[in-house]
């Protein structure tokens, strides 16, 4: 029997299973030093230890039996199961708009292999309809699977490829495009697509889920319905992120792709617009803009595709006592652009100065952003700032550090001319730099204050 039949088992557990010729999916009775256990042998997670055998019992529970305790294994049958999402034909309605859904690998629609816990993505229109039939009330859907990668593995190639596919979908007559995406790096992708796909005639909506759709309390289905609404009937033709507004199942928010950031490692309402208001509230079938300042849907606008990217760009997140060798390493490794996330108004310590000067002399393009996330890099205020600017570090106003990183890579993909790079970097494509910060652009509320307590009590979050 091959090791594949003992999926995930290693060492002691593997040799015990082999000894008793009991591969995974065998329905067995195990006599052990701790008594008898009955169930189906499950594949084992590769990251778990090599000393236990996992059984799924008739009650549906899983238990681990210690390999060293096994006295005998009696096999009764083999019960392998294959899991498939039911496919139902997505009903076509000529009255409804056409939305193209591009998949990059998030688990926006997926189901679980109930025995192993593995997530099976649902993606074809049929599968999507099987999982979220309400989508058919909103639009007609075509799907295209571009990648199957986790959010953290998304990079410039995926951004460029996705941008090209969005362009293609729009050329193909889509009334809106949805991009299914893992949430961890969604705001990098939304920034990249904002720069790469300009003059959009129709909305481009990135959507994901903070709770995968195999959970009854998942935000996936509602996010998907919100995204479909924004894509097919929403008035805003920009690259947006569509995720939960509050943690309650109340409404979604549409965030501008260049001003949005994931702000909590696990909350449903993790995406927030920073330094501005979100674009709109969204419910299934309804979009309510929160601002007048957005690009309106216009089928006649011609989309421009600029999907280039220079990979030798880095974010330098400054911390006290940062040593110049970090900067030296970037120089030595041929980096062409550095985005610094500095303290306060955009500062780093003195020991870095010589290294920054050297980087400037080597022609590395350097921009300053603020690690406070809210506010502007304003380097004229203190001597430190003025010193740093003299080494060629350019303050990049209120662009978010991650967005600056994406934008610099995108610019350097097109030109290396210092003046042009600087000009493009400081000239906003779509609100990544804003001239003014609205008075409600910075709202991080503090629990415990009486007014916030009463707000918490009166508003469903």
């Amino acid at each position: 029997m091959s090791n594949d039949e003992f999926k995930g088992y290693r060492g002691e557990a593997l040799s015990v299973l082999k000894e008793y010729a009991a591969p995974v999916w065998s329905d067995v009775t195990i006599a052990s030093a701790r008594g008898e256990f009955k169930g189906i042998i499950l594949p084992r997670s590769e990251t778990d230890d090599e000393h236990h055998i996992v059984l799924k019992m008739a009650s549906g529970y899983n238990v681990g039996v210690r390999a060293c305790d096994v006295q005998a294994i009696t096999s009764h049958a083999r019960k392998e199961a294959h899991y498939k999402i039911p496919e139902k034909e997505f009903p076509y309605d000529p009255q409804k708009s056409k939305v193209v859904l591009l998949g990059t690998g998030g688990t926006i629609a997926s189901r679980l292999d109930y025995r192993t816990g593995a997530v099976i993505p649902a993606f074809s229109p049929g599968e999507l309809f099987g999982a979220v039939p309400e989508l058919a009330d909103i639009c007609n859907i075509e799907t295209k699977k571009l990648y199957a990668v986790f959010s953290e593995n998304i990079g410039p190639d995926h951004w460029m490829g996705t941008a090209a596919e969005i362009f293609k979908a729009i050329e193909g007559g889509a009334d809106g495009v949805i991009v299914g995406h893992g949430t961890d790096t969604m705001h990098y992708t939304s920034a990249a697509l904002s720069f790469m796909c300009q003059n959009l005639p129709v909305p481009v909506v990135l959507v994901g889920s903070q709770r995968s759709s195999d959970r009854p309390s998942s935000d996936a289905a509602l996010n998907l319905r919100h995204a479909a609404t924004a894509a097919c009937m929403g008035p805003i033709s920009e690259v947006m992120v569509c995720m939960f507004g509050p943690t309650s199942d109340e409404y979604g928010l549409l965030h501008r792709g260049t001003r949005v950031r994931k702000m909590h490692s696990s909350y449903r309402s993790t995406f927030r617009t920073l330094g501005d208001r979100p674009l709109a509230k969204v419910w299934p079938g309804k979009v309510e803009p929160l601002t007048e300042d957005f690009v309106r849907r216009d089928r006649n606008r011609k989309c421009t595709l600029m999907n280039k990217f220079e990979e030798k760009v880095a974010i330098l997140y400054y911390y006290p006592n940062m040593q110049p060798d970090i900067v030296e390493a970037l120089i030595d490794n041929g980096y062409k652009g550095i985005v610094i996330a500095g303290t306060g108004l955009g500062h780093v310590n003195k020991p870095l100065y010589p290294a920054l000067r050297k980087a400037h002399e080597k022609g590395i393009h350097m921009f300053m952003t603020v690690q406070t996330l809210w506010g502007y890099a304003q380097m004229f205020v203190y001597d430190t700032g003025r010193d740093i600017m003299s080494f060629g570090v350019v303050p990049a106003a209120n662009i978010l550090p991650e967005v600056a990183y994406v934008k610099l890579g995108w610019i350097l993909g097109q030109t290396q001319d210092p003046e042009e790079v600087r000009r493009l970097m400081l000239q906003p494509v779509n609100h990544e730099i804003t001239e003014r910060e609205p008075i409600d652009g910075y709202l991080v509320m503090q629990g415990g204050l009486p007014e916030i307590d009463s707000f918490m009590k009166s508003v469903r979050r």
Partner: protein, 642 residues
């Protein structure tokens, strides 16, 4: 012709083939919750914030929605959670993944598994059990097995244990009106153990006894919560030909026999009803074309309060003809319940209608104030034959339509006999429909939690703490002459080690057993803070009793004294009560003294005379000399005087 009702009090359970198993949920006495660091056991009626969620069924293994899941989705509830910041964090609200499992809770569960003789797992795997009723915000309960199998001796037979798991507690329901259900989250995620037995109980009383026994086994660890709501049980009941029905969340053991008997009878009645339907030639096909008809116009001028209320709220009346069912809807399925009430239960839960009457039938329309003439028009409108029944539901149009569809579905399920479902306890000790019984499909691995190895070292440490099983202790304690209730109380009492030590030191096991297993509880109930007494003082008092320095009868009084002044050493307590030792000569002198000053008894009967004297004498020797000794000395003195 009505199907004869079986009185639950007189049912022959053996003949009916009653089988009963129990699932006992017991909260564990831990500082914190199971998967986060919130405090456990902090209940309140205050909330700082609300969160609203909905539950959506997920696809099951076969690519179909699980029966329960589908039903819950039909009900489309808005679920509101009330959050008190002190007792709940973002974990319980499903906004943060679980932290490492609370080892204290796992350890208590392992301890109970050992006490029940279960096979202990090598590795503890957290899995998710779906609940879509909203009682858990994630939509699933995290739970894991600590032990499989086990036996419990009960009246000469062995009750099998299927498994023992540790799991999260659910929310407390605040209200459930129409499409809105509200939960409090303070209890959510507190650690519980669930013990599941085989269906080895065959009478209603056995079920209650076994629940009680298992409860005592758990309490004997001293590490479980006590008080209202700390222990709840599900009881599974079936009769021959019936179906395993779960009665959920029985709050008190005393309700169990009545509930089990009621369910046994309900199943038998449903089976008899199926026979009758088949005899009448009815089949599922009979009801294939049953559709709800909107008959609201008939009630527009009706003067009955409920019809007026429905119409004023913009509701509709939907009626359905049920062929051949004229005599069957009134079939009794419980002391106060008919089959029509079973329909009502489904309507209430699935169509979210909660305005009574839930379902109006030919048998209830008159009493509800609907004019007979109106009902006749309704029957005519539905083209009813004399043998047909009519069921009427009312409420918001979508819900009323859902209600009639559900009524037809339930009638068709009659051909299954007893449909699979879970039932909830209603006041009055009867049960009502709760939801369709979920299958094992709703269990799947929790990918957020790593497995936890249960090592030999861990088990050895627990085994060292292991106590004699309660059922053996019961026997041992009864063998020294304690009545069963006292023995059972003492066996799980934290005072048992104290008793054991004193008995090893020569104390009278029965006298001390009565004190610690019965009087102690009574004194505490009277409000005496006996907990304050240092263990050393107790040991010294019991040693004094063992040495004959003080009589056992004086101990309750001394406990009272000690509770009030816990700093006083035992000897001082004895002296303060004048309980110094007395020689026999002193005692004899004292008896003579007392007798000298006593009025003569009026009776001439020697036995009565002696009773009179002893009654007068004993108070003088309270706690210092045993009654038999006083009696012997009295006899000697009287003999000497004669």
């Amino acid at each position: 012709m009505a199907i004869p009702f079986i009185d639950p009090d007189c049912a022959d359970w053996q003949a009916l083939g009653l089988m009963c198993g129990v699932e006992i949920h017991q909260q564990l006495l831990t500082q914190r919750k199971l998967f986060c660091r919130c405090p456990a056991g902090l209940y309140s009626h205050h909330h700082d914030a609300e969160v609203v969620r909905h539950m959506r069924p997920t696809l099951s293994e076969l690519g179909e929605y699980d029966g329960t899941a589908l039903m819950e989705f039909k009900t489309k509830k808005n679920i509101t959670y009330l959050l008190d910041r002190r007792s709940v964090c973002t974990y319980e609200m499903d906004d943060t993944p679980p932290f490492e499992v609370n080892r204290e809770a796992v350890e208590i569960a392992l301890e109970i598994s050992l006490a029940l003789g279960s096979n202990i797992v090598g590795e503890f795997h957290v899995i998710r059990k779906q609940y879509l009723d909203g009682s858990i915000p994630t939509g699933f309960q995290r739970t894991a097995i600590t032990g499989v199998g086990g036996r419990l001796p009960y009246r000469g037979k062995q009750i099998g244990i299927i498994q023992l798991s540790v799991e999260e507690d659910s929310c407390r329901e605040v209200s459930d009106r129409g499409h809105d259900i509200v939960f409090r989250t303070d209890r959510l995620s507190m650690p519980l153990v669930e013990v599941v037995t085989e269906p080895d109980m065959h009478t209603p009383q056995e079920a209650a006894d076994v629940v009680r026994l298992i409860g005592r086994v758990m309490r004997s660890t001293g590490r479980v919560r006590r008080g209202a709501g700390a222990s709840r049980q599900d009881v599974n009941v079936s009769v021959r030909g019936g179906t395993r029905i779960e009665i959920k969340g029985v709050p008190s053991i005393s309700l169990i026999p009545g509930l089990v008997a009621g369910e046994g009878v309900r199943q038998k009645m449903l089976l008899d009803m199926r026979e009758e339907m088949l005899r009448l030639g009815l089949t599922p096909q009979t009801f294939a074309d049953c559709r709800g008809v909107d008959v609201s116009y008939l009630f527009e001028r009706e003067e009955t309060p409920f019809t007026r209320a429905t119409l004023r709220a913009g509701g509709r009346f939907m009626a359905v003809r049920l062929p051949g069912m004229r005599d069957l809807l009134s079939t009794k399925v419980g002391r106060t319940r008919t089959f029509a009430d079973e329909l009502g239960g489904r309507v209430r839960v699935i169509a979210c209608l909660d305005v009574r009457p839930l379902v109006v039938t030919d048998d209830t329309c008159h009493d509800l104030g609907i004019r007979d003439e109106r009902w006749r028009t309704l029957r005519k409108k539905l083209r009813c034959k004399a043998t047909d029944a009519v069921a009427l539901a009312h409420g918001p149009v979508v819900d009323a339509q859902c209600a009639v569809a559900e009524i037809v579905a339930r009638v068709v399920e009659c051909f299954e006999g007893v449909p699979r479902e879970t039932r909830q306890v209603r006041s009055g000790g009867e049960t009502d429909f709760e939801r369709i019984l979920p299958g094992p499909d709703r269990m799947y691995p929790d990918t957020d939690s790593p497995p936890l190895a249960v090592t030999d070292e861990w088990l050895a440490a627990l085994a060292a703490r292991r106590r004699t099983p309660v059922w053996e202790l019961d026997e041992q304690l009864m063998a020294v002459g304690l009545p069963r209730d006292v023995a059972e109380n003492l066996a799980i009492s934290p005072r048992l080690p104290l008793w054991q030590k004193a008995v090893d030191g020569g104390a009278d096991p029965k006298a001390l057993g009565l004190l610690l297993g019965m009087r102690w509880t009574a004194l505490v109930r009277r409000g005496l803070p006996l907990k304050r007494i240092p263990e050393g003082t107790l040991r010294d008092l019991f040693a004094a009793a063992a040495a004959g320095r003080v009589m056992y009868e004086a101990l309750p009084m001394l406990l009272e004294d000690a509770a009030v002044a816990p700093e006083r050493p035992a000897l001082e307590l004895l002296n303060l009560r004048g309980l110094s030792p007395m020689t026999q000569a002193e005692a004899a002198r004292r008896i003579s003294d007392v007798l000298e000053h006593l009025a003569r008894p009026t009776s001439v009967d020697p036995a009565a005379r002696k009773r009179y004297y002893m009654g007068k004498l004993m108070p003088h020797f309270f706690g210092r000399l045993a009654g038999v000794t006083v009696e012997r000395l009295f006899d000697e003195i009287m003999a000497g005087a004669a």
